[in-house]
Symmetry: C2
Subunit: 416 residues, 2 copies
Amino acid sequence: MSVETLAPAVDMDVLHGRLDALVAINPLPPDGACRLALTAEDRAGRDQFAAWAQAAGLALSVDAVGNMFASLHGARPDLEPVMSGSHLDTVATGGRFDGALGVVAALGVAEAMKASGKTLPRGLVVAAFTNEEGARFQPDMLGSLVHVGGLSVSEARDTVGVDGICLGDALDEIGYAGPMPPGAITPSAFIELHVEQGPILDAEGLTIGVVEGVQGISWQEVTFEGEANHAGATPMRLRQDAGRAALALGDTLNALTAQIDGLLATAGRIVMVPNLINVIPQRATITVDLRHPDDAALQKAEDCVGALAREAAQAAGVSHATRQLARFSPVPFDAGLQERIALAAEARGLPMRRLISGAGHDAQMLARTSKSAMIFAPSIDGISHNPAEATHREDIEKAVSVLGDVLWDLCCEESD
Amino acid sequence: MSVETLAPAVDMDVLHGRLDALVAINPLPPDGACRLALTAEDRAGRDQFAAWAQAAGLALSVDAVGNMFASLHGARPDLEPVMSGSHLDTVATGGRFDGALGVVAALGVAEAMKASGKTLPRGLVVAAFTNEEGARFQPDMLGSLVHVGGLSVSEARDTVGVDGICLGDALDEIGYAGPMPPGAITPSAFIELHVEQGPILDAEGLTIGVVEGVQGISWQEVTFEGEANHAGATPMRLRQDAGRAALALGDTLNALTAQIDGLLATAGRIVMVPNLINVIPQRATITVDLRHPDDAALQKAEDCVGALAREAAQAAGVSHATRQLARFSPVPFDAGLQERIALAAEARGLPMRRLISGAGHDAQMLARTSKSAMIFAPSIDGISHNPAEATHREDIEKAVSVLGDVLWDLCCEESD
C-alpha cells in the first residue's frame, strides 16, 4: 500500500471564508459560535452548505433525519463512493472548527477534484450529519446513528430536546426532513477530519493525528427526590435534601477517576428545584459523562456511579432514579485506513502520532457499516467546546492536504 | 407581671377566609402559594390587606420601601403604639401560613379590639413588611431592616433581584413606594405570631412556642471560574473545572455540620455555565446558607467555608470569589415579653416551651429599636417553604388567642 499521489490543493482562502461565514451566523467571541442542532442557526449553516455544494455542481440529497450529502460523481457508478464529512451543529459554547472543519474540508477536496478536470473512478460524497453534539437532543451522534441503522427515524423524531421540543418537530420547522431513506448511500470508506479537542498533538508539537479509535461513552442522568423545607428551621438529621445527594455524587467523580486509570468523568449539568438559597432542594438532577477506551473499565465506572448514587441517596434520605442518555462502546478504526493516513502524512513530511479520540465522532457510527477512520488537526492548548477553540492556519492547511491525498487515493481505487 | 385579661376572641372564620384569599392569588397545590416580593402576586396580596384594613376602619400608611401599617388608634396618643405583624411575600414554593398568618392574626386582633367598644390606652399597629423572604431580593428581612434604619432607602431600592430587576423599579411598578419615611412609627413593643417552620413543637405535642431569640444567619454566594472544555478530550489533570469546585464545596457542608454542633448548612442554589452534559463547566455559582444560635460558632463556620472554598478552587485549578449576601448575628428577644407570652399561654392552659427560631424573622429587626418577641404555632412535621406547609386549625386558634391576650395587655399598659 502506498499513497503516492499528491492531490490537487484545496483553496484555503475559500475554506477559511466558509468557516468565517458559519461563525458569523451566531458568533461568540473570540472566534466561536452557537448553532445548536435544528435551531434557526443550524438551518442557516445548512443553507450555506447547500448553497456552496450546489454552486460547486455537487448533487445534494437530504435524508429523513436531516443528514445532508453533496455528491461528486465518479466515472464508475458501479463502485461505492468514498465519503468524508462531519457535522455543522455546535454546543452552546461552540468553537470555530468542531464539526464545521470536516465538512468544509471535504467540500474543498471535492471542488479541487472537480477542478482538476479528471473524473476519478469513485465518487466523493461530502456529508454533514444531524445533531452530532447531543447538546440539544440525546444521544449525540444521532444523525450518523440513524444513517447506519442504529436508531429508527421514528425513534429519532420522538427524541425530546432539553428545551422540551421534539426532534421531529424541530426538523420539520427548519425544513430539513428530507425524502431520502437514511443509509441510502453506503460508502466504501469514510474519512473524517476533525480538530483533536484535546491537548496531545499541540503539547507534542505534532501536526497530524492518526486516530486509532474512539473511547467508549456513557451518559447518565441521576435525579434525586427529597422534600423542600426551610433551611433555617429543619434540623440536619430530619432533612431529605435532594441537593446534598447530587452534590455528593458529583463530588465523588474525581476520586473515581483516580481509582480507574484512563477514566474521564464529568458532571457538566446540575439542576436543583426550587434552587433557592434558603430552601432545602426538593429535587436535584445531575448528569454524569464517563469515557474510557476500554469497555470493561467503562462498565466498571458505570457500576461505581450506580453504587455511589445509591449511597448518596441513602445518606441524604432521598429517592433516586437513573436514566441512561447515551451509551457507546469503544470503537476501533480500520487499520488499513489508519495506515493510508499515516503514509500520506509521511509522504508530506508531517510529524504525526497515533492516538485515541477522547470525543465521540460521526466516524465511529459510520464504522458500523463501512471502513472508517479519522484525521486529527491539533487544538491549541486542547481547548474545545469553547469559543476560544483555535488551530494554527498552517496546521489546518496541512491536515486538509492529508485529507485530500487520502480521499484522492481512495477515489482512485477500483477494487472493492 | 401578669396577663389576666382574656382578650375578645378573633373571628377565626374571617381569619381563615383571608388566608384562603391570599392563597387563591397564585395557589400551589396542596395548600401553598407563590407571592414573590414585589411581583404582581405580592401586589394582589397587599391590595387585599389594604382593603381589609380600610374596611375595618384602620388608618393605612405605606413607607418608602413598601412596608404597610394599619393603625387602630389608642386613647392616649402620647403613648407609643404596640405593633404586631409579619410579611405577605412568600418563597417560590411558599406555604399557607408563613408570614400571612402573622399579618391576618394581628389584623383580627385589631378588629376584635375595635369591636369590643373599648378604646385601650395604646394604639395597635398591624404591620406587613416588604421582602422578608429574600427569595427575590437579598438580604432577606429587607423591609424591616430598612424600618429600623439598618439599610437606607436608596441602598434598598438599588438592590438587584435574582431576576435582574432593581427593587426600586419593582416597588414603583406595583405602586407600593409610599410617602412615609421608614421608621416613622416606633412601637413600645413588637409581637410577631408565626408558624415554627421546624418540627419541635409538633414532635413534642405542644401548642405554643415562646421564642427566646433567632439564630444567626450567614448567606454567601461562591462563584468559581475555570475554563469550558470538552468532557471527552480533556485529561483530568489538565482541567479547570469550575463545576467540580462547586460540587466539592457543597458536598463538604454536611461534614461541617458534624464538626460544629448546632450548625445548619444548606447549599440550596447552584448554577453552572454552560450547564451541558459534555462540557466542563466554565463557571459555577453555589450558595451557602449557615445558621447557628451562637455568633462565635457561626463565625467559625464562615471561616471554614472560606477555607473549603479556597481548597476546592485550588484542587480544581480554578479561581473563586465570595459575595456575602446576608449576615445577621443571633438576636435574643426581650425577656419581659417572653414572660408575658408564657403567662398568657399558661392562663389558657396551653402546653408550651421556649425555643430558638431557626428561621430569620422581621421581629429580629424590630428588636434593634423596640422590645420584641415572637409566638410560634406548630408546623405539622416541621414542613415549611413548601406548599404542603400545614398547622391544625385548633392550634392556629389557640396561638391567635395568646397573641390577642398579649396585645390587649400591652395596649392597656400606661407606663413607658
